[in-house]
Structures are given as structure tokens and as C-alpha cells.
């Protein structure tokens, strides 16, 4: 009597239910303010905006499942955006190579993270911090400190702003990535090992699984996804910008945690991350539409996250 099915369905965690409940609650509250909050156009727009965060949060989730963290997101996102736009301006070859090159840069930075964490056993918080600083340094040198003027390729713009059969391409991209993530986590040896490492890397090692390789690959994946997020953002704005990734670090961590993934690793489902991403996006949108000052938005953002964590993110007492 073994159960089939992926992490999506096997056991709906209470945290995920809570997260979706909060989404519905937010929509309800928003609808009291204005009925346009529950219009399909608005909801679709939200999902489109959420897609950017969603791509980045996917990488972050895998790293958090390992029991680690990736603080290099801000500038790996920027690297993705800036490197892809830089290549895009190299004629027709550039137009084709822009996206793969951007992702490759992200993967490379992710590999550095992975090497440091997996083989040099440096705490991920520090390694990714340092790599973030290095990435920033590289981009400052590349752009001369100014806002980069390179334009995104047509492909980038199409992915980020176009629609296919009425569905925003960005959302399609997120769906594809999300599906791949679910399959990866629930149906592959890699995914199983990720959960295992998050629970006890020692036990994984003693089971004869090459845990260090898996950790390195996970960080490479996270780097690639962060860079891809940057590519999408650059496609959306038609160019890259300094500090374009800064606004995505804390929300991506919050989205993953609010979705029920334990920050200590080993527990969490992708459905939860989806809920967390939508929740954060919705929260930020509603606060901005209500024309609450940035100040109020920040405070409410923080308070809401704490409140939700107190509801279902608490650790067991040390006894």
C-alpha cells in the first residue's frame, strides 16, 4: 500500500492550506475596497507579475530544502539581465545567444556557491554573500557604474511581455519551470536526495549517495534560475538596471517559507511555494493599489509575514 503521486498531491500540508486561505482572505479584503480586485484581468496581471518572483523562488526553494540559503540572488539576477542584454546587441547571433548566455552566467556563479558550500563546507550564508559582492563588483566594472543601455533581445521581450492564446508568456514560462521543479523534486533521485540532505546529510552520505555533488548542482540550478529571472525582468523593461534584483531577495525567501517549506530544510512542497509567491505578490499589489504610502506598505508587509509565521511557522520548543 504505497502511495503514488508527486509532492504536489501526496499530503496537502496545513501550511499550504493556510497560505491559500490567506490568498482568498486578501482577495476578499481587497474586494471590499474595490471590486476590480477580483476581476479576471487583475488576477491575470497578478499572476504575470508573480511569475518573475516565482522563477526566482523556485531556485531558492531547492536551496532552502537542502537546509541552506542563497543570498546571492540580488546580483545574480542583475548578472542575468545585464549579460543577456549585453550579448543581445551582438547582431543576429547575439539575439539567439542572449538568453542561454545569461543563464550560463548564473549557473557559473551558482557553481561557485555550490563549490564553497559543498566542498569547502563554508556556511551558505557567507559564501553566497561573498559571491553576491563579487557579482556586484563584476557588474559595476561592466557597466562603468552607469545604467546599462543595452537593449533586450526580441526573444526576451516576447517571453516577458507577450501573450500566447491570451495567456501571458511569463506565466507560461513559470508554469513550465514549476512543472519541471515538481517532477524534479518528486520523481527523480536528485529530488529525493535533496529532501534527504535537508533532513540529515550524514545519513545521505552513509547511504552511499554523493551528497556533495547534489548540493553543488542545486546551487548551480538556483543560480541559473535567478539569472533567468533577471532575463525576464530585463525583457519586461526592455533593458537591465542597476540593482534590479535587490527587491527579490527577501520576498523570495519569504515566499518559500510562507509556503510551508521549513527554513531548516527537508520539508516543503512546490505547491506551497506557488501559494507563497502569489500571496506575496498579491500583498504587495494590494498595498500599492490602495495607495498606501511605501512606509505603510513596508510595515504591513513585515507584520503580515510575522503573523502568518506565528500561525504555522513555529518551531518546537527545545526540550
Amino acid at each position: 500500500m504505497t502511495t503514488r503521486g508527486g509532492t504536489l498531491i501526496r499530503r496537502i500540508e496545513p501550511a499550504v492550506v493556510m497560505a491559500f486561505g490567506c490568498i482568498i482572505g486578501l482577495l476578499f479584503l481587497g474586494s471590499l475596497y474595490s471590486t476590480s480586485f477580483v476581476s479576471p484581468e487583475f488576477l491575470l496581471q497578478q499572476l504575470k507579475v508573480a511569475s518573475f518572483l516565482g522563477v526566482i523562488a523556485t531556485g531558492m526553494m531547492i536551496v532552502i530544502l537542502l537546509g541552506q540559503i542563497d543570498l546571492s540572488v540580488p546580483w545574480v539576477v542583475a548578472v542575468g539581465g545585464m549579460m543577456s542584454t549585453a550579448v543581445a546587441s551582438w547582431g543576429t547571433i547575439g539575439g539567439v545567444m542572449a538568453i542561454p548566455f545569461g543563464i550560463l552566467c548564473g549557473v557559473a556563479l551558482g557553481l561557485v556557491n555550490g563549490l564553497g558550500v559543498a566542498y569547502l563546507r563554508i556556511p551558505s550564508m557567507i559564501v553566497t554573500l561573498a559571491v553576491n559582492a563579487v557579482a556586484q563588483g563584476l557588474m559595476v566594472v561592466h557597466t562603468g557604474g552607469y545604467s546599462p543601455q543595452d537593449a533586450s533581445s526580441a526573444a526576451m521581450r516576447a517571453l516577458a511581455t507577450g501573450t500566447t492564446l491570451g495567456v501571458p508568456n511569463a506565466l507560461l514560462v513559470w508554469s513550465v519551470i514549476g512543472t519541471a521543479a515538481v517532477l524534479l523534486l518528486s520523481r527523480t533521485t536528485f529530488g529525493r536526495a535533496v529532501y534527504g540532505i535537508g533532513n540529515s546529510e550524514r545519513a545521505v552520505y552513509l547511504s552511499g549517495v554523493k551528497s556533495q555533488r547534489i548540493v553543488m548542482l542545486a546551487f548551480a540550478l538556483s543560480g541559473g534560475l535567478s539569472a533567468f529571472g533577471g532575463i525576464l525582468l530585463a525583457g519586461y523593461a526592455s533593458k537591465a538596471a542597476q540593482g534590479m534584483g535587490d527587491a527579490y531577495l527577501l520576498p523570495s525567501i519569504a515566499a518559500v517559507v510562507l509556503g510551508g517549506t521549513s527554513i531548516l530544510g527537508g520539508r516543503g512542497t512546490y505547491l506551497g511555494t506557488v501559494a507563497g509567491v502569489i500571496l506575496i505578490t498579491l500583498l504587495q499589489s494590494i498595498l500599492s493599489v490602495m495607495q498606501i504610502e511605501e512606509a505603510g506598505r513596508q510595515v504591513i508587509y513585515g507584520v503580515v509575514i510575522i503573523a502568518m509565521l506565528l500561525l504555522y511557522g513555529r518551531e518546537r520548543p527545545v526540550r
Binding site: 550564508m125 519569504a254 513596508q298 510595515v299 508587509y301 507584520v303 510575522i306 518551531e315 527545545v318
Partner: protein, 326 residues
């Protein structure tokens, strides 16, 4: 081994940070066009002390094996508050200073309550409280502005007779009056115990909750001192998210460079001070060697990366691979 041998080994990290800083600063001063003058030293000291205070704040929390991602925002919030309150007559100024410090303490209290009694993981909880503090800072200073009592500011950011920067004296006072007594106190010892092994500390009767709470409170207080000092330097308050985030991340870098273990239980705020001063000096070194300032962030990043890799040399001594996977 003689006694002092043990004491030196205990303070390994701090001493190393001190040496690194001294070497770097020596190189800086020797190559600076103006040389080892009081002005050069004071400017460097002022910037260094700023980061040092925030690094001390981070240290106390890291010692309990926690992390405080909101220090930068407490720094920014208290800066904005100071630019509004620390003005006017000496009495009003003193009251303003007290109010600012108290606010920092309250921020620490909030963090402590959520992490310890709410039992939330510090990394996520302090992200959220950081947002709250930033929002409050924006309320105080939607646009940069404000003022500060210029007498006080000048006194604390310039030099004392003899060329000693006043900021260093302030730092020394903070260390002597706040850090050392804390470290020697029972609750300070408790902080180290909790960071070293929370379970063993509990079994030994150490008040775990209270020790951690004290750490977060002290952290808020120290970050507030940093914010206050920033106001003295810039004569204004600015609710800059970029600044806040930068200081948070740099404080972690300073802590690591200062020999404080991110796992908790070992290290000293004094080490973090030298880590902060060393980190600051990196940027200045670039200026002095006529390197394009454009390369400064990259240089700083690479140094940081190299420094954190140094700790991995211990891996060569490991004989049982299970220890890799603690």
C-alpha cells in the same frame, strides 16, 4: 602551556583580525599622499566606527547562533529619528539621544520576543522586522533631511588634542562600558553557552530564553548607537533601503572577518570591530593605489570570498569524513 598561552588561543580570531587590520591600515597610511596625518586617520576612523558599531550589534546575536538581518534597518531608523530629536538645547539633545537609544533597544526587544517567545527562526523573523523598521523610518523621513546638534556632532567626529579621533574614543567607551561588562556578566556568559550548545546550556541550568533575549536587546542598542553616529557624520537622516541592506550584509562580513563563528559560542565583538575596520580599509586601499574606484566593489567581494575560504583549511586535518557533515 602557560596561562597567557591559553588566553591567546582563546582569542585567536580576534588577534588575527587585529593583525590583518593593522597590516592593511599600515599599507594604507604609508601610501596615502597625505601620509599619517590626523585628518586621514580621523576620516578613516569615522567610517570604520560606523560599521564597527553595527558589527558589534550583529556579533551579539551571532554568538547565540542566531542572525539579525534587521540591524541595518535599526541603524537607518535610529538615524532618521536622531535627525529629528537630537537637536536644540543641551537638555533636549540629551533627551533626544536617550530616546534614540531607547528606540534601538525596543527594536531589539521586538526581535527578541518574536524569535524566542514566538519561536520563529531568526533569519526569517528579522527579515520581517527589518521591513517594519524600514517602514517606520520612511514615516519619519519620507525625504532625506533633518538636522542634529552641531556641537555634539562636531565633538564626536573630529579630533581630540593630540590627533586622536574622537570616534575611536567613543568606540573605546562603548567597548569598556558595554561590551566588556556584558561579556563578564553571568548573562553574557550565558550567551556564549547557548551559542556553543543550547541543549547543554539548558541541562546546566543556564537561562536560555533570557540569555538570547538579552542578546537581541543589546544588539538593538548597539545598532542605535551606530545610527546616532551616522547622524553626527551626515547631519541628516535618510531612509535608504540600500544603505540599510548594505550595512546588514557588511556587518555579517565584518563578523566573519573578525573571527566570530557563525555557529555561535566563540568570538568577540572586539574581533568584529577589527573585522569592520579591515573591511572598510579595503576600499580605501584601492583609492590609495590609484585603482579605478570602479573596481572597489569587485575587490571587496573577492577579498571577502578569499577570507571566508581560509577557514576551509581545517578540512585538511579532518580524519573522519562524518565530521564534514555535522
Amino acid at each position: 602551556m602557560r596561562d597567557w598561552g591559553y588566553r591567546i588561543r582563546e582569542q585567536r580570531g580576534t588577534l588575527l583580525a587585529f593583525l590583518v587590520f593593522v597590516v592593511m591600515f599600515a599599507i594604507y597610511v604609508v601610501n596615502h599622499p597625505a601620509g599619517f596625518t590626523a585628518n586621514v586617520v580621523t576620516t578613516a576612523a569615522n567610517k570604520g566606527v560606523l560599521l564597527a558599531l553595527v558589527a558589534m550589534a550583529q556579533t551579539v546575536v551571532v554568538l547565540t547562533s542566531g542572525i539579525d538581518l534587521s540591524v541595518g534597518m535599526v541603524f537607518v531608523l535610529t538615524n532618521c529619528l536622531a535627525s529629528a530629536l537630537v537637536v536644540g538645547s543641551p537638555a533636549a539633545t540629551a533627551l533626544g539621544v536617550a530616546a534614540v537609544l531607547f528606540t534601538g533597544l525596543l527594536c531589539g526587544v521586538l526581535n527578541g520576543l518574536i524569535v524566542i517567545y514566538g519561536r520563529l527562526q531568526p533569519i526569517v523573523a528579522t527579515i520581517a522586522t527589518g521591513a517594519i523598521f524600514y517602514g517606520l523610518a520612511l514615516v519619519l523621513r519620507p525625504v532625506p533631511g533633518g538636522d542634529v546638534n552641531s556641537d555634539l556632532a562636531d565633538a564626536l567626529t573630529s579630533q581630540l588634542p593630540g590627533g586622536v579621533p574622537a570616534s575611536l574614543v567613543v568606540l573605546l567607551v562603548v567597548v569598556l562600558a558595554l561590551w566588556l561588562p556584558f561579556r563578564r556578566s553571568e548573562i553574557g556568559r550565558g550567551v556564549y553557552a547557548v551559542g556553543s550548545s543550547e541543549l547543554a546550556a539548558y541541562m546546566s541550568g543556564v537561562p536560555v530564553g533570557r540569555a538570547k533575549f538579552a542578546a537581541y536587546c543589546l544588539s538593538g542598542l548597539l545598532a542605535a548607537m551606530g545610527g546616532l553616529f551616522l547622524t553626527f557624520l551626515t547631519y541628516s537622516g535618510e531612509a535608504s533601503a540600500a544603505n540599510g541592506n548594505t550595512y546588514t550584509l557588511y556587518s555579517i562580513a565584518a563578523v566573519v572577518l573578525g573571527g566570530v563563528s557563525l555557529f555561535g559560542g566563540s568570538g568577540s565583538a572586539i574581533g568584529a570591530i577589527f573585522g569592520a575596520l579591515a573591511f572598510r580599509t579595503i576600499g580605501d586601499l584601492l583609492f590609495v593605489f590609484d585603482l579605478d574606484p570602479l573596481w572597489q566593489p569587485l575587490f571587496q567581494g573577492i577579498i571577502l570570498l578569499a577570507a571566508v575560504c581560509l577557514g576551509s583549511f581545517r578540512l585538511f586535518r579532518i580524519r573522519n569524513r562524518l565530521e564534514l557533515f555535522g
